[in-house]
Every structure is written in C-alpha cells, then in structure tokens.
C-alpha cells in the first residue's frame, strides 16, 4: 500500500512541477482508484486458502501460490464482504488465438471443486 501511495504522490509531484514550469493549469491530473489488494480481506480467513492448498495436495496437484499482477473480480468481492480467492481453471494463453486447455487439467479442477465441497 505504501508503494502504491508513493506512486500516486509522484504523479502529483510531476504535475505540480510542470505547472510551475509552464504556468498554472497547463497540466491537470485525475487519479482514480481502480481496485485494492484483497490480501488484507483474506488474511482473517486464511483457512480458506489453506483448505484449497490442502485439497490440491490431496489430489496430487502442486499448488502454485503467487500474487496476481493485476485485478480480479474476487478482489472486489472480498472488499464487498465475500472473501474470495481464485483457483486455476487449467487454461493457458488467455485472451489469445493461441489459448488452449488440457482436458486432464479441467478434470482435476472439477475434482478439486468436489473435494472442497465434500471435505469441510
């Protein structure tokens, strides 16, 4: 969060600097927050991440836990009061003509979902 605030502050400083250099009102900056890191909303419910990790391991799937370099609807939902981590579908090369998905990985995902619902 601190680095995010620093980035926004830097843009404001640049804007102020250019207005000083070229005259007031030359540059106008509009900053609008898009979304926030869901981590703080998930941490109080970290058992739901642990549960997904354990379910994967029980099914022989190696968990790959990494930060999303962007946004996700689950982040918005987490801030709306519904803690919501994200699970794999198995698909690759999203948004591309070269998108593909292994059938076997779709089957694994389906097993994972069933496992999450039957072992709680």
């Amino acid at each position: 969060m601190e680095k995010f605030l620093q980035k926004k502050a830097l843009m404001e400083k640049i804007c102020a600097f250019l207005n000083e250099k070229y005259g007031p009102g030359t540059v106008e900056l509009t900053l609008k927050d898009s979304y926030f890191n869901m981590r703080e909303k998930i941490l109080p419910h970290i058992h739901i991440v642990e549960k997904a990790k354990a379910a994967m391991e029980a099914l022989g799937i190696a968990p790959r836990i990494s930060p999303i370099r962007g946004g996700t609807d689950g982040a918005r939902l987490s801030f709306m009061g519904l803690p919501c981590p994200n699970l794999f579908t198995g698909g690759q090369n999203f948004h591309s003509r070269f998108e593909y998905i292994p059938v076997e990985d779709m089957e694994k995902c389906t097993q994972l979902l069933i496992h999450l619902l039957t072992t709680c």
Binding site: I65, R97, V103
Partner: protein, 267 residues
C-alpha cells in the same frame, strides 16, 4: 453424466465477447443468451432456484448439510474483447510434445518455441482453436468445471456443504463484481474459478489506480511561435519521461509495481 470436456465444448460455441463501449449490463446480448442456456441446464439437473436476475447475473443453490459452511463458486460468462470469440472452432488433440498445426489452410501453428510451458503438457489432450479466435477457456472452463462439480454433488450420496453458484457478466471489462448481490448470494466464503495453469491459487493482487493527464497547450504558427507556443505533445512526453524508467510492466515482476502508459491522444 456429461463430461466437463463435452460441456466446455458446448459452451465455447456461444459468442459472449464483452464490449467496454456498451453501457448496458450485460454489455452484449450473447451473454444473456448463454446465461439463459445455463439456467435451463441448472434447472434440468435439479437446481430449482436457478435464475438470471435483471442484470444478467446467474444464481443457483445445491443444498447441502446446513451444519457445514456455505461455499460459493463463481465464474464469468463473457470472453475478452482482445480477440474474437465468434464461431470458435475448438478441437481436442492428443499432445505428444511437438508443435500443433492449428490451421492448415492458414498455416497457423501453436509452437513450444513461442510458448515454452506447452511442453509441460506432453501426454495430455489439449483443446485448441483454429488459430483465428480465442478459445474462451477464460472463463467458460470455470463454468464447465463448476457445472460438472454441481451435477456430481446433486447425484452423490456423500455429505457435502451447500454450494452457491454465481455466474457473472462482463468480468473482462472490469464490471463483473459491480452488480453482484453478495447479500443474496449468502455464502460464508467463495472461490472464483478463473485462474490459469493447474495448481494456481491466488489471494493477493495489485493495488491499482487510473491516472488521466490532460495537457492544455497553446498552438500558433511555428514561424511566430517564439515565447508563445506550448506544445502539449512535448509536455506529455516530458511527463512520461519523469516517471521511473525501471517501473514499467516490461521491467518488473513478482511484487514490483509499475506505471503503464496505455493511451495517448492529441485533441
């Protein structure tokens, strides 16, 4: 019971590309058509409360043991505006680790030299496109996986938690959560099924903001410009040049943030 593969192949035939220039919800009528088909399918498998709300969101419940937590599973119906999702010609190919010919006529190949992680799938069966459209695994794979799991829960004798299903429109244009009714959904917690390669599990994301910079210049004949002209294009470049060079998408990874210039236009 229909396999997750057959279900997915049925879903990708629906064109559900979203459109950020539309103000309606869903942004495109194809999402509503797909949603209606999903509601029919949920009802046919015995999910009696399955319905689409006025904004095109789909909700449904697979009742389970009330002593267990209520768990939500969420996926989105639209596909990215970045590539066409019309007339998707999906096919399943056994993958032996060599390159895949997607389209013989147009000579389009899926090559491991372009996509190194392809090789990890040797021995599996891959669903691919004909190289002219996206596939729509993002996120119809999530929908097919949730629907297949739901059908399995409907028929199992095993004790299970109550499942709340939510299918949203317009995730790809950043509106998927806007009109989601968290209160009505009434799950203790949920998972979106919208990630990539097998094993992916994510609970952290960026903090993000958009920045719009308006620059007012002064235009005048260049021959008489001395001490008068303010060239807004040059000022835009000056603004950009003051941002740290090393904080761009192409030079950051992991937890490192960035400034990303997406658009520049002259009035």
């Amino acid at each position: 019971m229909e396999t997750v593969q057959d279900r997915f192949l049925r879903y990708v035939r629906f064109d559900t590309q979203s459109d950020e220039n539309s103000d309606t919800c869903p942004s495109t009528p194809g999402q509503r058509t797909f949603g209606e088909a999903l509601v029919d399918e949920m009802k046919a498998m015995g999910i009696t409360d399955a319905h689409m709300d006025e904004n095109g969101y789909i909700y449904g419940t697979v009742p389970g043991d009330p002593k267990l937590p209520t768990i939500g599973l969420i996926a989105h119906m639209d596909t990215s505006p970045d590539a066409s999702g019309k007339d998707v010609q999906a096919k399943t190919v056994p993958y032996d680790g060599t390159d895949i010919l997607l389209n013989e006529e147009k000579d389009i190949w899926l090559r491991s030299s372009d996509y190194p992680s392809l090789k990890e799938n040797a021995g599996k069966h891959l669903i691919v496109t004909d190289g002219t459209t996206l596939l729509g695994a993002d996120d119809k794979a999530g929908i097919a996986e949730i629907m297949t799991a739901a059908q399995s829960l409907m028929t199992t004798r095993m004790a299970h938690a109550t499942l709340k299903i939510g299918f949203t429109p317009d995730e790809e244009i950043g509106r998927g959560a806007d009109l989601f009714d968290v209160e009505k959904f009434a799950a203790d917690y949920a998972y979106t099924v919208d990630g990539g390669p097998i094993g992916e599990l994510e609970y952290e994301n960026f903090n993000a903001a958009s920045a719009k910079v308006d620059i007012s210049g002064i235009n005048i004949h260049p021959g008489a410009a001395k001490d008068k002209m303010v060239n807004s294009l040059l000022l835009a470049m000056e603004f950009q040049s003051l941002l740290p060079l090393h904080q761009r998408p192409e030079s950051t990874e992991g937890y490192e943030g960035f400034f990303h210039l997406t658009d520049m236009e002259a009035p």
